[in-house]
Symmetry: C2
């Protein structure tokens, strides 16, 4: 008898998804921040699909302000559209919670969702509510459609050796509040896709130590990280910057010749948001091994937030 | 302090959805079995969006065979596409479950999902997994896209007084097994949309006593039910047929002049599936009041399955 925590999250997902039929185009299935559907050659945009979930006691606590939980539930998904160079459009909200929940809590949750939907010009398309048993955790599942202009699409699988690795903002310390109030990097992603299109990109949700190896592996490469260059959230250690998770910053690579003009132009456009080169994409065998970061099904001792 | 169970499910949904931004086109928001998105006049099909959830102890039990749970999770959503005259296409699967869950349980669940996806030519587009606290219920949230040919789209809001009300199959007794193994009425819906396009349609998920008033109210009408004509699952009472829920049959209305030719043609095409006229759409004031059916947030005494 084997449990999920003996397998870990990434291996679990691999074991489960191989049991299901997939579209012929691998971009239209799991593997990147969003699935990418091509509606046909006449369409200037591609359809993006994404799902995500927030669980009480895992992503928020019973006493977390519900309006902040609502913002976070939508903002996490918006961040995944930013990671592809796209925009969010239509949201499906599934809410599973105890019947004894106060209506005021649920309404504040939805006020927070509304704040974030309005901030990014997205709308509600539908939803579902279900009760859970009295002592069960509340679960909020969010699915959404989005779109990306064909020429703006950025995948996580197209990094190549020699490309600089960059990250927006600062890393670490999400639990002190940022994980509830962050701004998804939609504006920055759109500017990048329009002016300095990244070679590869993803958003940082589980910590750099977990996510950078994912980007490198998806690209068939390794990553050499310059730990001295990590942009630390004030008061955070490099270890926290690597493993706290829930930074929701953009992690991307660019062509080597783009680096200098990008680093010159960025502060003129985003004077308050750091952009930092933190390493270089290398051949797979030359990459370093990183450990840590958030794993839903790892033993508690390996998870920084447990 | 007011709890969800003092409000009830339909009122809860009304109170929450009014807090969120909606698309200008009401069809693209909540209210029908699926949201309907028009990609533009050049597209022969419309995009359908749907989300749904299964919760342990509510929709299945810890000892329910997981492969049957997986079939049900997908089939419930497929049934919503049938309710619009459409077809399912791409699925997003969100799984929130305890880390101590056995991998064999999760793999059997996905085998069941795969069975149903393959049966209806649908594919996995993406997913998300999360842990829940050790004693929490497992939650499976399913979101999906589908499509419907413009001329096949059937809404629940377009019933008019004088139209016969029909239902496929038999009603009641879902808990004896049907709720785990039902076949969504995709074939029947497609045949109806092609040959005897219904005036209004929905699928029966919460029991006729809950769902027929929803169809009537969405259409601004009432419903006169002929209780003697209810097609009972063998061994079930009329009360069970009205309130058990999870029948996943098609409930629809047609033009009065369609009734006779439809009733003649149906058994030639679907000899093993009953089609029964169970009443007539009437003016709102002339409709009868039905009570019962499944409400996630009603006090336990009102719920047939509690």
């Amino acid at each position: 008898m084997t449990t999920l925590q003996e397998i870990g999250e990434d291996a679990l997902i691999r074991r489960l998804t191989r049991l299901l039929p997939l579209a012929p185009d691998p971009l239209a299935g799991p593997g990147d921040d969003c699935a990418v559907i091509d509606p046909g050659p006449d369409s200037p945009t591609l359809l993006l699909l994404k799902t995500d979930a927030l669980v009480e006691h895992v992503h928020f606590l019973p006493d977390t302000p519900p309006r902040a939980v609502g913002w976070k539930a939508i903002a996490r998904v918006v961040s995944d559209f930013a990671a592809m160079g796209g925009l969010p459009e239509r949201f499906l909200i599934t809410l599973a919670l105890p019947a004894a929940t106060r209506i005021e809590w649920a309404e504040a949750l939805y006020h927070g969702m509304g704040d974030c939907l309005r901030a990014f010009d997205a709308v509600l398309a539908g939803g579902e509510t279900s009760s859970v048993p009295p002592q069960s955790a509340t679960v909020i599942a969010i699915a959404a459609t989005g779109s990306v202009r064909r020429e703006h699409l950025v995948l996580r699988s197209s990094a190549r050796p020699g490309q600089p690795i960059l990250v927006t903002g600062t890393l670490g310390g999400s639990l002190r509040g940022k994980h509830l109030s962050f701004t998804p990097r939609i504006t920055e992603s759109h500017w990048l896709a329009s002016h300095f299109k990244p070679a590869a990109m993803m958003d940082l949700s589980d910590g750099l130590a977990k996510d950078l190896p994912r980007l490198a592996a998806a690209s068939g490469c390794g990553a050499a990280l310059d730990r001295d260059q990590l942009p630390l959230t004030p008061g955070c250690s490099p270890a926290q910057a690597l493993t706290d998770g829930e930074d929701f910053e953009l992690l991307f690579t660019c062509q080597p010749e783009q680096l200098e003009p990008l680093q010159s132009a960025w502060p003129l456009t985003f004077p308050e948001l750091p952009l930092t080169r933190i390493g270089t994409i290398v051949e797979p065998a030359a990459g370093e091994s990183l450990s840590g970061g958030w794993d839903h099904f790892a033993p508690a001792i390996l998870n920084p937030k447990s």
